[in-house]
Symmetry: C2
Subunit: 360 residues, 2 copies
């Protein structure tokens, strides 16, 4: 374990005791910091389980003994004196939780967002970090906001499988500070100021994972034994298009080739229970959009983040005067959007993609 | 199926009736060309099987009826009148077979190399296409040489699973001609003049597949259930280093992010029976280099192409006055070479990589 100076040790709070919020407490505690883990009203059964056994019921792994667990009504205690606050609730709850938390965050200098998500309005795309930043500013507080990307399956992080987190902040020094205090020998941190690139990657990878999932569905349907050639074609096309999109929004296209883009997309398509890739798989198997949604709902998975993200970004680009020119290059995103809107089947989509892909 | 003008139809010979040589006859025949498939002395049992049943015994799939099969002693007949000759024998046999074939290649305008391999001499690195080109020139013949990259598992190609071939030639028009006559609705062709980039990708992906294989070995050893975080970290680092190497040799680093680089590396690590990734897997499981080699030999796999490629390129770079500066960036290649030379264990290699990877 890396030795760090006691002066660098931080008092940290993690808001959200789901898989990711709980898993991140492992490197945070291992790097010597004081960690409070607070759960929402939805997390109560998890919190009780952890208090009784120190094991997280979904992660099926023990959290470090040094982690203090707090119930929903103990938000003030969980945040008391905390310099760094991680937000790890679902992306649609992030704003509400932040509002509840801010009054108790007198000592907070950094908010680190593990939740992912983008919000599209008519005239602009807002990332979760922007939503959070605006919330903080409206309360007249001066806190650095940092978004985290990179390949990070919670079930693996809690077991200390080596990986990388990409910490993005407009204030690069703030991200570098995180590197100093939160790195361990298995959890490395890369600091960047490409906030847009990291956040777009985190959102887009869900959409492209749906399209890559099609290939597994074709295999399931018995059309082919393996489909690695097609998977690879879709993967490289996804990376190509993510670079075009990130660049057009002012991000750095190199981010897409790194851990936050390719790295995160790769774990997203690999994770057996990943909902985006499995949704795509059902479509590839020949199900209609409605049938696939129904099937996901039956297994309790009601949110397929990649669906609204793909449609919103595609429609946003269509409406945009100066960005619509990149649509010609977004062969896969276009086909995906048409499948998600029920306009074409996956097989038709694949024919179109193959026809277009080798034109340039 | 794409309709092509009869004027464009080519008379093609494929030399080598192994998996890849046989599989490529499928799109070649489907795109309407006349195809002769010739086998070497080692291929005789395969040829007999195809003649009797039209099925390739290892591919377990039928070859198109239009494909004419030729025995080793029929090389002259197989090549008679052929305008395009595909070389699909093992890379170390390519030069010899070409020498045997050239006297009968009076009509040949193109040689297309499906075999992969690089040859390192003290002062330079030669790709297989360079070796073949020199052979052609020494016989005072004027034939375009084209190298093929991209994600292309033969077992899938023969079943018409959609994919892309990247055809690279210093004469771009020659590669574009191939696109015109060999493309089908499932086999697309991208033409490029980045010969160095495509050939280095084809060679390097074998070496990096060994290192990515380590992660699966750690999982096999029971250390972790899944290791997708680590796999992703190694994959993105591999792509990063392949870009550095390709660029330093005068190739285009964009090639690495496309089908010939990322696409081919992805199928290489996915293919269950892939020898490079499986060799890496054995090392990751804790076997020594010798134990892993022995284990591969038992299953009849005596050539692990990525091993000599990694060592030769690393040593070449070490000796090179103006290229050795890039070694600092080649964290993974360095660790891999040290593992292959028995200097460090995979676990030590991973520690070193993790230590170095987040420094920049």
């Amino acid at each position: 374990m890396k030795r760090i100076s006691r002066l660098m040790v931080k008092k940290v709070a993690v808001l959200g005791a789901g898989m990711m919020g709980s898993a991140i407490t492992v490197p945070l505690a291992d790097s010597g910091n004081y960690v409070n883990l607070w759960g929402t009203e939805y997390d109560v059964p998890i919190l009780e389980h952890i208090r009784k056994t120190s094991m997280h019921p979904s992660l099926k792994a023990n959290l470090p003994k040094q982690v203090n667990v707090f119930y929903p009504e103990e938000l003030d205690k969980a945040l008391y004196d905390r310099e760094v606050v991680f937000i790890a609730v679902t992306s649609d709850a992030a704003k509400t939780i932040l509002k509840r938390a801010l009054p108790y965050m007198g000592n907070a200098r950094k908010v680190i967002i593990l939740s992912k998500g983008i919000h599209v309005e008519n005239d602009k795309i807002m990332s979760l970090s922007q939503v959070v930043s605006e919330g903080i500013k409206s309360m007249e507080r001066d806190i650095d906001v940092i978004s985290v990307g990179g390949p990070c399956i919670a079930e693996e992080l809690v077991k200390r499988v080596p990986t990388l987190g990409v910490y993005a902040s407009y204030n690069l020094n703030s991200a570098l500070d995180c590197k100093k205090v939160f790195e361990t020998d298995y959890y490395k941190i890369i600091a960047t100021d490409d906030v847009i690139g990291v956040e777009l990657c985190a959102a887009l990878k869900n959409s492209y994972a749906i399209a890559i999932g099609w290939s597994y569905g074709l295999s399931d349907a018995g059309d082919y034994k393996t489909v690695y050639n097609l998977e690879s074609l879709l993967l490289t096309q996804a990376i190509k298009e993510m670079r075009v999109i990130v660049k057009s929004f002012g991000g750095n296209d190199e981010t897409v080739i790194g851990p936050a883009g390719l790295g995160d997309l790769n774990v997203t398509i690999k994770k057996v229970e990943g909902r985006n890739v499995n949704f795509g798989r059902l479509l590839g198997k020949g199900m209609s959009f409605e049938e696939a949604i129904k099937c996901m709902h039956v297994s309790g998975k009601t949110t397929i983040e990649g669906v609204p993200t793909a449609i919103k970004i595609y429609e946003f680009l269509t409406r945009s005067e100066h960005l619509s020119q990149i649509l010609d290059e977004l062969i896969l995103l276009k086909a995906l959007t048409n499948v998600l809107k029920g306009k074409i089947s996956v097989k038709e989509a694949l024919s179109e993609i193959l026809e277009d892909i080798s034109k340039d």
